[in-house]
């Protein structure tokens, strides 16, 4: 497994072009290429596999968004970038949990990524807010909203799925749910 992971490491250029073109294959390769590196870092610095997964996915999302926003300049190797982001995130998590952060065992070069990580945290806050708003919404509203806005189902599909007599009823229900969701979401 380890070898097959290493053998398929895509070039940095491939990754950037692939992400810009929404290539799932590239994302797959990228993810598998550097996971072991991050796993090693987390495992050797007071973390477990789940921590590694969270941190690594966050780093990949940061990289993904940065590339999508179109302002990603390759000033270092992607490997270094990902490692640096993971390191930064993990250090923050450690200090939040007031675990000891005295000596971090490094495996790669480190690159200044504070700005990117903070930028991501702001975005992530909005994400968490929406997530919690949806969670507070309760069924069936949550599912209707998710189906319509996230899974892009048509009103016709939703109507059939939830057994409404006609799409107008479904629509009315959707807008009722939407009103409640917005109320929760815009709550200060």
């Amino acid at each position: 497994m380890n070898n097959s992971l290493k053998s398929s490491v895509p070039t940095d250029r491939e990754v950037i072009l692939g992400i810009l073109n929404n290539s799932e294959d590239t994302l797959n390769k990228l993810y598998k290429a550097y996971y072991a590196m991050v796993l090693q870092f987390i495992l050797n610095n007071n973390g477990d596999e789940d921590d590694a997964k969270d941190v690594y996915q966050e780093a990949i999302i940061i990289l993904y968004n940065k590339i999508k926003e179109g302002n990603f300049e390759l000033s270092s190797k992607l490997k270094t970038y990902i490692y640096s982001v993971c390191r930064r995130i993990w250090l923050k998590k450690l200090s939040l949990n007031s675990k000891k952060t005295g000596s971090i065992t490094d495996y790669e070069d480190v690159f200044a990524v504070e700005e990117d990580v903070e930028h991501h945290e702001e975005k992530d806050a909005a994400f968490v807010k929406m997530q919690s708003a949806l969670d507070h919404l309760g069924e069936p509203c949550k599912t209707i909203i998710q189906d319509f806005y996230i899974h892009n189902l048509s009103m016709q599909d939703i109507c059939e799925k939830f057994g409404y007599t006609n799409t107008d009823n479904a629509k009315t229900q959707k807008y009722k749910c939407l009103q409640r969701l917005k109320k929760i979401f815009f709550q200060p």
Binding site: N2, L43, F127, I150, F186
Partner: protein, 364 residues
Amino acid sequence: MRNDLELDAIIEDYLLGKLNAQETEALEQLRRNDATVDHKVVSHKFFLESMGIFAEQLRLKDQLNEIHSEIDVEGLASTLRPHPSRVVQLWRKHKSAIAVAASFIVLSLVSIYSIQHNTKQAERYRQLSNQVNNAIKTQNSLIRKIKHNNTTSDKPNIQNSFGGTGFAISTNGYILTNLHIINGADSLYVQNSKGESFKVKSVYTDPQNDIAILKINDKHFSNLSSIPYTIKRTTSNIGEIVYTLGYPKDDAVLGEGYVSSKNGFIGDTTQYQVAISVNPGNSGGPILDNNGNLVGIISGKPDQTEGAAFAIKSKYILEAMRAIPQDSLGVNKLSVNKKSLLSGLKRTKQIEKIQDYVFMIKAY
């Protein structure tokens, strides 16, 4: 309430661009007139954007989770987990540093080795130059190795013997030859053209000019008649026809050519270079010009050049002869002043006359 919902639907359709031109115009009119409607539009726009981002991130996370599930996390973790052994831990941590250090050590060893190697080469070069110096003295000595496998078995113990050529410088048995032929020999014999052997002993050697003088010390030896050739006092010119008689094999062999250079091996001024093809065994042979004057002694040949030989200039023969008590050489010695008996004779006659005075030297 009902109107609110309808308004929301209209706003959403408006933001998603689903309204027709008339409806769009109507809503924009409403927005301008009613601040609350405008606020609703703006806030819904923001909400939709947030929802869009949320949806995208959620899809991405799902995708990542899917990829993650394909990875053998346990397997990887077990190899990457901090190892109980400190040594392995250190190795993993400092893998690259160790690699750098190792390559540095290898590099230093290689450079040290190559430095030593280079020094060796310099030494070898010096040795080579020593060899060159030796070569200047001896050149490629033309000593004939005589194989005794086929000779009579009365001297079975003799392993190595060398042969060359020599010639008489007096009628009472003084013979001049190259020193390198007799160097280190236990016993010396000369053999004349009739096949008679006489025991000789070395009476004078000149290592610098590679000249040795032998004296026949044998009761069977009877004096020769007067020496037919004389010594040439002046140096010969390039192009002068010369010939030599020698013993590269058991019979005398004539070699003819011309003086090709006034200096010998690497500019050695004590020698000539002559264009005569010579072989081992020719060493010590006399070089004579057409008039029977002794021009030099064959002493060696260059390694790489074919058909050339070096000859010690005749004036060194004279020098060597002076080193011997003049009385012992007798009256009929080789001389400068006398007219050569060979002058004006044909080559065949000349050879006939000198062959009794040219000897094969055998050194055991």
